[in-house]
């Protein structure tokens, strides 16, 4: 195998003990630590000092108007973009100093769920699994597992370009979770899904959220309420709110009785836009 170090199997009793200790420790483990991230593109200061700490067991909903810097921030969390300033630690590994170790800790669903259109779903997942260093004998099992979870069994041998938008999105999520990473970063995971599929993906995220640190971006405020333990609102490149969905809703005055989250969202993002003008 050479390149990827492989863990030796532990005796069963010991393995259980280790798993138990890990599960206890993981409850307070800080998995994502982004400090004062800035990003400038030729003349445009897109992200202006985003700081974000995410522990295991947290599902963070990343909210903000289009162009607020959500995707840019997520790209900096995964190392696709290098921040102009600031640093990212993923499960203790510095993305700048030890990118390979840091990139092993997460699964990533980029915006638009890109995948190679000419490949079958099975080949694509196999490619990702191999590239992530999953041992050869475990790959078929892992593919079966994620295909079951994402309801992809029926299309495993179909070419990706022939799939519907919903299936493509699920292939993107399957690709991100195949190695069971402690960190999941997903840019609009439910975009393009029908209400049933949305519900299923939310259930899945909620189930995984108890052990992982998950960051997902969305436009749908109800989604934050449904799956997230924490909401982070970003507007014009700055974090303007960081708290639980309940706290977020409570920012609306009592006189607002309907669409309270929408109201708060508009207030927060409108004021931020005015400040920068």
């Amino acid at each position: 195998m050479g390149y990827f170090a492989q863990a030796q199997p532990l005796p069963l009793a010991k393995e259980r003990a280790v798993t138990y200790i890990f599960s206890q420790v993981s409850q307070m483990r800080e998995l994502i630590s982004a400090n004062n991230l800035h990003k400038s593109f030729a003349g445009l200061h897109a992200v202006k000092g985003v700081t974000l700490q995410v522990n295991s067991g947290e599902v963070v909903g990343f909210l903000g108007p289009n162009g607020a810097g959500k995707t840019t921030t997520m790209r900096m969390l995964t190392g696709f973009l290098d921040p102009s300033e600031g640093s990212v630690l993923l499960d203790g590994f510095s993305l700048a100093d030890d990118p390979l170790a840091a990139q092993k800790t997460f699964g990533y669903l980029p915006e638009g769920a890109p995948a190679y259109p000419e490949m079958t779903v099975r080949d694509y997942l196999q490619f990702i699994a191999r590239a992530r260093g999953i041992p050869r004998r475990e790959i078929a099992g892992k593919i079966g597992e994620v295909a079951g979870r994402m309801h992809l069994r029926g299309v495993l041998d179909q070419v990706i370009e022939t799939l519907s938008k919903g299936f493509k999105r699920r292939v993107g999520i399957a690709q991100a979770i195949i190695h069971d990473p402690p960190i999941l970063i997903m840019d609009e995971p439910t975009d393009g899904l029908d209400p049933n599929q949305k519900h299923e993906v939310r259930e899945l995220i909620r189930a995984m959220g108890s052990t992982k640190a998950i960051v997902l971006s969305t436009h749908i405020l109800e989604e934050v309420e449904a799956v997230c333990t924490r909401a982070v609102v970003i507007a014009s490149g700055r974090v303007v709110f960081d708290g639980t969905p309940e706290e977020f809703e409570l920012l609306a005055p009592a006189s607002v009785t309907r669409n309270r989250m929408d109201y708060v969202f508009r207030q927060l993002t409108a004021t931020a836009a005015e400040v920068t003008l």
């Binding site: 696709f80 390979l100 990139q103 915006e111 890109p114 000419e118 050869r136």
Partner: protein, 244 residues
């Protein structure tokens, strides 16, 4: 499997997932036949060698290698899959080398399919096998340097047509840099040393010495170092422009 092998496998199979592989192989074999027999006069020369085939190989690859290399990075950028690829825990140079080797290996397959020509001349006469082997080595080297140039250009754009055209122009200049056509352009305003340096990177000069059957270290070093330098440059360009 090492990461570069994982990338190599995917890329090599990707050629066969579209009609590109079939079109490439058919065009390559058809054109090499046309050139060797009609223009090169394989039979009329009455010589048992493959000179009439090899002399056209650089010109064939000039147009066909860019067709293989144009998609390497431009397509990743257009599809957005570069975001998946570059956030996988693999060193970027593994991806660059894996992609290049996939394209190169494909061109070696195309060259191997010209073996019937070799078998024919061996059957009809008694060719100098060493010269033919050297000619194949030279052909593989030319394909390698063109594909390395193509991969580099492909990393600069997300438009495959631009990658194709720019690669042809770049390969043409490198191919002929030892010839008056290119050198006269530089001669007026560059020092003699600089002009000689440009002349020494001519692919055709090095290919011709290989085609004569002389495998010189100088020529092999030339091709190998050129390919390596382009791999390094491509790695930097991909990293620099991956999100652009």
């Amino acid at each position: 499997m090492s990461p570069w092998q994982v990338i190599f496998r995917r890329e090599f199979r990707a050629y066969f997932a579209t009609p590109l592989a079939a079109v490439f192989l058919v065009v390559f074999l058809f054109m090499s036949g046309v050139f060797s027999f009609s223009m090169g006069g394989l039979f009329e020369r009455g010589q048992a060698d493959l000179r009439s085939f090899f002399q056209f190989v650089p010109w064939l690859f000039l147009f066909l290698a860019p067709a293989l290399s144009m998609r390497l990075w431009a397509e990743e950028r257009r599809l957005g899959t570069i975001e998946v690829l570059t956030t996988l825990p693999i060193p970027l140079w593994h991806a660059v080398v894996g992609k290049f080797l996939a394209a190169w290996f494909f061109s070696l397959v195309a060259l191997a399919l010209t073996a019937p020509l070799w078998i024919t001349v061996s059957w009809l006469g008694d060719p100098d096998q060493g010269v033919i082997v050297a000619g194949y080595i030279g052909s593989a080297m030319v394909a390698g340097i063109f594909l390395a140039i193509g991969g580099f250009v492909s990393a600069l754009t997300k438009n495959q047509v631009i990658a194709f055209v720019v690669t042809i122009v770049a390969c043409f200049l490198v191919l002929l840099s030892g010839f008056p056509l290119v050198l006269n352009f530089f001669r007026d305003w560059m020092s003699l040393g600089a002009v000689e340096a440009i002349a020494s990177v001519s692919v055709l000069t090095h290919f011709n010495s290989l085609m004569r059957g002389v495998v010189e270290l100088r020529d092999v070093v030339y091709f190998a170092s050129g390919i390596c330098a382009l791999m390094v440059a491509t790695t930097f360009v991909v990293d620099w422009r991956k999100s652009a």
